[in-house]
Amino acid sequence: MSNPAGAFQINVRAAIARARVRIKGTLHDPVWLIAETIIPIFSIGGYVLLYRALGAPASYTGFVIIGGAMIAFWMNMLWHMAAQFYWEKEVGNLEMYLVAPISRMAILLGMALGSAITMGLRVFGILLFGTILFGVSLSIGDPIALLLIFTLTLASLYSLGILFSSLYLLWGREAWKMNELMQEPIYFLSGFYFQVRGNVVVPLAMQFAAALIPMTFGLEGMRRILVFGEGLQSVAFDIVALAVFSVVLFFLARMMLSYMENLAKKEGRLTLRWQ
């Protein structure tokens, strides 16, 4: 497109349109939305009660509530972001995206925006129900720090989602299985249910491995603010790490998307279905 302002405008419109589909598709059935919010509490409850059975301090159950709520975003990134091009390919939408005068990034950013809004509602519900049901007290010591951590966590997470989505332009079931593998192993490594960084029980090698995953920093920052009531100063390291992750992953995602699209075109696998 020769007019950069026009190109920008059309890409913004494409992103908003894609976000609207995601928001409408997710929110049009309120019963389903309520179920999506309440039912995850069950699996969170298992870990809360395990901590209680062991006689661990009450703050540990706060870790579980925050981790359990943030799993919704992680799952959303994996299945409604990374794997989305796979579905688009399967139902025949991918060809339409490719021939439209818009950037692939606009479509993916639209998905991310729509997901962030709908998942935000769900995560808020899980936090609310979780704290009431299990009698956990979470406090927002520093709202600005929390907002920063939360926004940067989502930015890095969805950039990672765009990066993974490029794999689906080339692969089918292999990438699908990789998505599945990024559930429990990541919940464990990132410390969705316990603190990883500085924990004497957690081996150092595991702490280093956890530092390669942006979610680790997001969870650590949120725990410090919501469970321990700490402020901006104590989460500065997490904010910087998340900002670096967001920028690096975003540019990496752009490069990978373009590279994988070209490779898939060369190998004739871009619109190959039922892989």
Binding site: K24, L54, Y60, V91, F194, V201
Partner: protein, 284 residues
Amino acid sequence: MAVKPFLKSAWYSAWLGWKIETNWTDPLTFAGYYLLRPFAGLLIVGFIFLIGSFAAGNMSTQYFTYLFLGQISFIYVSQITMVTGSLIHEERSKYETLRSLYVTPASLRPYLLGRALSAAFASTVSMLLTLLLGTFVFSYALGIRLEIDLLKVNYPALGLSVLLGIASLISLGFLLSGINLLSTKLQFTLSEYVSGIFFLLGDVIFPPSMLPGPLNLLSSALPITYYIRAVRASVLSGVWDAILPNMAMLLLLAIIITVAGLLGFGAAEKRAKRLGILDRKSEY
């Protein structure tokens, strides 16, 4: 439908399921894939145990053995529900073969049974690999003694408990498939929800007596609870007196859920056909 063709269809479906699950990679990667997720699940509860016990200043190896066995037994629950909870969606939206399956003389039931059986077989591979690696990591690398005496294990009772547990889970799979016939929203989450509920109520990692009254009562009406208790009793005490009450309840509930699964699936199938949504797809 006659029994022999039904079983033949189920057998071929199981074979197909095995191919779908395995032919995307080489055997080593496949083994890694089937080990990593359940092993990570075991590591999560194992580390919660270590961290929680360290904070409380009290480490009970008896409790660790209890949750280790619960988590290992739960592999069947999470993997069979994962496959059966997404099967209809896979056939309907991913491969677009639901209509073709539906118009075959065998129709959907033997297909679902076969796919669930192949999931049970794959779960056995997962369970054995996780058991071996988990025992090594926790007993030798992390130094937590598992209080299991291999000579005391009642192996016939253990085998029977696992078989009855698998039968209950397959029947539950029919119910999940019925739900998915009527919904296009739950394909990614239904199995997570169901296994989440069982994880909380099924006596997996903490005793159900810790649950509030109504949930405790609900726990005692679930086949999963008795399956896990029967497995634990077979491994830890090996005495029939301790195993039989749990196994009897498991058998009774397995029969009830089989009837409920078949009736529920039949009703869902009829309703989906009446509403014209049997092959409905939705993307958002």
